[in-house]
Assembly symmetry: C2
Homo-oligomer: 480 residues x 2
């Protein structure tokens, strides 16, 4: 089904409303089909006029790529609309096929009429993502690039946009392919040894092989682990603010919202039943979990076991324990260690935020800090009402996410499918290392290696099945 | 304000959502501004490659019109998006100015970023309709054509689309201008007589002049009168179905809705507080007024004076009196004459619809027809439950509207502003005729004639003020 590229497909590529709409036609009969309903007019630049007249006479088939024609869409003898038609010739088009883009007035009536005329003349309505799928099938981009097209369109923040662009433009694929090439090199050496099986030769030094597989695995693992950050950037970073009532949660949130650097996002909360405040800071979307609920709930800090707080922490990547400066070091340390126990080994980042520093005696404040059982970098002193220290908190929040970038590498995984593939690849490499350790026969090691290579290949689509393609493209919008 | 064409303007021209968005830039600095943020890549057709490389080196200013470049939008050193850029050179563009259309991925983030980069580099956000306004100011189209652009985008039906297209493509303007030229000819002759005032010459035969002014006025009047139909087609035709309860109003409506020719429109009712069923038949939108209300209201036919029925009739262009065949001719005639009195001299079209013919004795039905005091063509016999006669009703409904076309002329006025101008023009011509009749001095006749000419000129924009332009374009969408 997904290889059915004989059809010439058509779909509107622009959204609803607006002044101008664009209808995309792609496939081997694109020129012929559009030619049947389009009549070009030679009203173009003087120096292009003679040329255009030739084009007009010859129909769309003679028009060069990357050219625009002005003309009319005709239904029988009636003019449906004045349009611009952009012509792209295979392989120099988005899909890699002959492609025509019709820019018409954005009335639904006109769009429907043009779509109807095109299908009557042999075009088929495109399925979701079918243009991008064809770009993949025609080698214009690999699978991870195709997936990134949807991410680019859906990116809400600068950071998620940047990652999606990077992936769409292929720098991601390049690294994955280099990794895969290295592994293929090992595989071929081991398989060569197999061919000479009887003679018991070793083309690859086992020690050297082990250290290189280790190196590859370490890179694969760091890629895999970057998903936590990549996903946070793509979907937003869930943050839980916990603490006893009246400690200033809503005041803190308001202070964050008011900061120059914060853009109050209009994106509605994505998790059901939970009202979220979202803030974009430095291009990163932070989702403050269930803050509306906090205002009503008496989740006293002594009573941290209550389900609501647990759930909030459960959903968060970053947990902010908000305490009052006047509580004193002992009480604060107690609460902090309770939550630290809860989040230990979960990968969640815990920070201690001491609020209401303005209410504390000027001499008491410097004394408090050294008594807190918390790394200095994980502790922020602030006054939400006065606004002091808010900037420190913002720097810490963005710093946590940005640390995720640099601590691993340039490349960030944002796609769950890639994450799963990297996990499987890593397991395969574990078995390879194990096999080398235990001096297992080459054929067993080769099987594990091939398995690991297979999973990397799935990311870029070197290996793909109809099922994989179907799952990927069904979530695209129509016209892309 | 509306003549400020020194600004280079920018706006998104496509709607929200979708895969692709288009941002339009127009004005004298369009190439320079886009050139600052766009980096072309020479990945185009082989035979256009060398050419493209020249273009890339030379920036947008050297690109020919009606050409597309593939490349990147750059913010400092970061790539914002891969885009297609379409280049149009003055005067061969929509606005008549240098114009660039940037096709980018449809994420709001990308669109905002590109808009931001363009304004940072000197472009101004376009006001509603400003692109079309410039097309008018640069002589690419006259004012009635410019107005039709908005009508084309907003047309919901085939019929309204056809009228808007006709107007946008200038056949409307052509006739208005011909009419104006005729009047200008008379005016110049009369003014010539004025120049020779002392000598008492008559260049124009008064009798001939009167008959020609009459002819012009008759055409102007028919144009003015076509507005009733033009407006009905543009805004939909309001139809009221009145009659006693249980006469089958909702069954009739359902039968109409189910007919092959009827398209159930998804356009919500436009008048407040009134629920409407809308049906498109033969490309014409019929709005059935307050049919939901009818189902609940006990507006017995004997009680026609009740406010609800009056209001419905008030709002309608077509009134269908629905009666039951078994009521007998006397009762039906009584109801019909009551409503006929009410609609007389209102220009509303009244039709008598006899329902439930299936329940009547086979011999009684042929006897009923001749006893009805109603023109045969204005009376439809049908059975809404069995579906017989529904097609006759549909033909009558569309016939009423189509009669509006042919009874006057090809040209239909759909625009209230044009209607008002034609009305004023007609008044002016009345005064001219009167002046000729009463042999008033030439200078008085000339003033009236100039007045009439002035109003015609307002339609096409030969005469326009900032106020007129402001009123017209403020209702456009941004990006058009």
């Amino acid at each position: 089904m997904y290889q059915d590229t004989n059809r010439t497909i058509v779909a509107p590529a622009t959204g609803s409303g607006g002044a101008i709409a664009m209808i995309r036609v792609s496939g081997k009969d694109a020129f012929e089909i559009v030619g049947k309903i389009f009549k070009a007019k030679a009203e173009v630049e003087d120096n292009a006029k003679a040329e255009a007249e030739v084009e007009v006479e010859g129909g769309l088939g003679r028009v060069q790529g990357f050219r625009i024609l002005y003309g009319e869409i005709i239904d029988s003898r009636e003019i449906v609309d004045d349009v611009l038609v952009s012509v792209f010739r295979a392989p120099n088009s988005y899909t890699g096929e002959d492609q025509v883009e019709i820019s018409c007035h954005a009335s639904p009536y006109i769009q429907n009429k043009i779509l109807q005329l095109l299908t009557e003349n042999g075009a088929s309505p495109a399925r979701p993502g079918e243009f991008t799928q064809r770009a993949f099938l025609n080698g214009k981009m690999d699978l991870s690039q195709a997936e990134a097209v949807a991410d680019v369109i859906n990116s809400e923040t600068e950071a998620s946009h940047r990652l999606a662009m990077q992936q769409m433009r292929g720098s991601y694929s390049k690294e994955i392919n280099e990794l895969r090439d290295k592994m293929l090199h090992f595989a071929s050496m081991i398989e060569l040894e197999l061919d000479f099986g009887e003679e018991d030769v070793e083309f690859a030094d086992r020690e050297e092989m082990r250290s290189m597989v280790k190196e590859i695995k370490s890179y694969t693992d760091s890629l895999r682990d970057s998903f936590k950050y990549g996903n946070a950037i793509k979907k937003g970073v869930p943050v839980a603010i916990v603490g006893k009532p009246n400690v200033g949660k809503s005041t803190l949130l308001n202070a964050l919202l008011k900061d120059d650097k914060a853009i109050v996002s209009e994106i509605p909360g994505t998790t059901r039943d939970v009202i979220e405040d979202t803030i974009i800071i430095d291009g990163i979307l932070f989702r403050f979990i269930d803050t509306a609920g906090i205002h009503e709930t008496a989740d006293v800090i002594e009573n941290l076991g209550i389900r609501k707080t647990y759930q909030k922490i459960e959903q968060a990547d970053i947990v902010l324990l908000l305490a009052e400066a006047s509580d004193g070091a002992a009480a604060i340390n107690k609460s902090f260690s309770e939550i630290r126990n809860q989040v230990s080994d979960t990968g969640k980042k815990l920070m201690l935020v001491i609020n209401k520093t303005d209410l504390l005696d000027k001499t008491a404040l410097p004394a408090l800090r050294p008594s807190l059982e918390c790394h200095e970098k994980d502790c922020i002193m602030l006054s939400a009402t006065e606004g002091s220290g808010i900037n420190d908190l913002i720097l810490s929040l963005t710093g946590i996410i940005k640390a995720g970038y640099s601590s691993s590498q340039e490349l960030i995984v944002t796609n769950l499918r890639h994450y799963e593939a990297l996990k499987e690849c890593s397991h395969g490499l574990d078995r390879v290392l194990n096999g080398l350790e235990e001096e297992l026969p080459e054929d067993l090691i080769a099987v594990d290696l091939r398995q690991a290579i297979h999973y990397l290949g799935e990311i870029t689509g070197e290996i793909s099945t109809d099922e994989i393609l179907g799952n990927i493209f069904k979530n695209f919008c129509i016209g892309k």
